[in-house]
């Protein structure tokens, strides 16, 4: 998979407040006011809390949101491929994570079985 998600170090990152919306984990993105919003931040209170993956899918795929979807919180390099496939375009990594290794991990798989928020068709339909 071609790495496209932009990676940032937490300590060097400051969000541009205007036009950025941070959604709580229990929010339904379909009820969010997205007018003039260029970036939606989705949170990982712990990297094992997977709710933001479904939120990203609904934003990107269901609603056709074209702005940035940014992962914040407990963001680790081993979940980056999942994030990119679910529609995230930016990830602000936890301070101890290696950006370089993260980029390598994104390229570990050439292709996947199922469709996702970005490559919509599953392997069997794309082939």
């Amino acid at each position: 998979m071609k790495p496209t998600i932009q990676l940032f170090k937490a300590e060097r990152f400051s969000a541009d407040e205007a036009g950025t919306l941070t959604l709580p984990n229990d929010a339904d993105p379909r009820e969010a006011a997205l007018d003039r919003i260029h970036t939606v931040q989705l949170q990982f209170p712990s990297f094992t809390d997977g709710r933001a993956f479904s939120q990203a899918f609904l934003l990107r795929r269901r609603l056709g949101f074209t702005g940035q979807i940014r992962a914040i919180g407990d963001v680790l390099i081993d979940q980056l491929a999942q994030m990119q496939r679910s529609g995230f375009t930016q990830a602000v990594l936890r301070a101890d994570q290696s950006i370089d290794h993260g980029r390598q991990l994104l390229a570990q798989y050439d292709a996947y079985y199922q469709g996702d928020a970005v490559d919509v068709k599953p392997h069997f339909a794309a082939a």
Partner: protein, 593 residues
Amino acid sequence: MYQYTAFDRHFVQQRAAQFRDQLERFQAGTLDGEAFKPLRLQNGWYIQRFAPMLRVAVPYGEINSAQLRVLARLARDFDHKEVHDTSKANAALADVPSLPDRCAHFTTRQNVQFNWIPLDRAADAMDLLASVNMHGIQTSGNCIRNITTDALAGIAVDEVADPRPFAEIMRQWSTLHPEFAFLPRKFKVAITGAREDRAATPWHDVGLRLLRNVDGDLGFQVRVGGGMGRTPIIGSVIREFLPWHQILNYLEAIVRAYNRFGRRDNKYKARIKILVKAEGQGFTDQVEAEYRDIVEKDGAPHTITQAELDRVSAFFVQPDLRCDRKSADAKIANILKAAAEDDIEFSRWLTRNVKPHQNPDLRAVTLSFKRLGSAPGDATAEQLERAAELVDRFSCGEARVTHEQNLLLPWVSCDQLPELWREARRLGLAKPNIGLLSDMIACPGGDFCDLANARSLPIAQALLARYQDLDELHDLGEIDLHISGCINSCGHHHSGHIGILGVDKDGQEWYQVTLGGSDGTRLSGEAIPGKVIGPSFAADEMVDVIEAIVDTFRAQRQPAETFVNTVKRVGIEPFKTAANAVRVATARTPVAA
């Protein structure tokens, strides 16, 4: 069985390489234990009491002889007790010298486990498995687990449709699904294509049943929210009929609803069954609305095409076994009759271990891994090698791991039954006890498992030792005995006609007994958890307790009545009274369960 394509093979190799990188970072200290944990779990690696445990995926239980040989190699060359420090981790609870090693263990979810492979050899083990297209993908962790089915899939005489092509398509769909790798809790799917449910589907997070509607179209009945654990619940039907090509879209809707709304604040309330119970019709409405959106707004990209079903189904055609029809039925019947009359054990084996087949020339034969001196479902390296030979010689190179922790040979010619029986008996795998009391299900229990409250294996051994007399076992008839070492219920005690549950009280091992549970088969009746027969028993009372229960059945039963039907007819009271009468250690100080 399914043959891996270049894409599938490459995928498994990429997975092995990914795991090697994760393990190396963990060992180098750049990946901390907490971050590594879900990654190793989703590759099947647990950390248990004395050593890691590896759970190898056997998708819907289908395995070939080359894979069995690699499992034998893992058992022989990797599964070594002596390389671990067993003095730690409360060694007092287990009799360490007696614990088996150099063996594999068949699980109730049709997978295979190893208990003694050191973590520093884990990446090598995964490479070896990948050489025969095996892996541990999603055999643990809070994700969609191995999809299980009927061990008689594709050969059962009561089959509506073969569930294996759908199980394979679902395997591919669920493998490394980006959205569903961190669910609130584990997620288990079972699928049956037969009229008789041999896959315990009502006990699963999602239970699927293939059926035809009034127009003759094929589809699924969909159940959601079944599960065992401390809150046993039978799944609810949320769809009576879903056209087959929509199954992935519908599963996506179910799992998305669960991922968004399932509880994450309490591990014991995190399974989908709790959400389904709490929301009731609201859950069904949510799933149906999400499903409509997937179809209408997302364009239903995972709709299974006829071409894809045909492509996958082509792998599951019956092997070309040309029995000579001229010599067939009458002659075979004569051979079997003569052999059976000659040897009562062979006759019993034909009755218990041999099942009818869609092809009238063939039979399905179960090798019994329930025998004295071995843990239920354990197979040594040597036995795996020999079993692989039998699989090659008698079953077109294919076998199935069964929910009951045995190995089934699906393609056996009728006229080879006497020969197979002799070979299996030589290996000690021809015990004619399938479906009987000694064909018990048991989890590894406190001997190995970090979660267990009590040991399962010594209880299983003691009961196996007590019930060795085949006359007695055959007279008692079909009894499902299920043993779990803790309330996580890996040994399915809730669904046993007799269920045994290990409980902990002040650091001592106690056992709670339930009666009348059912997995949902016709023999056992509608799926239901068993009823507790009173306070827990001490370990050394357990054989007497089970004997008292079995003797009560003998006294109470009507002609040809099965154990579970007697329990249903007379209730648990007579059994409870009999069990209480043999209490010794717990007679004066009953322990609240």
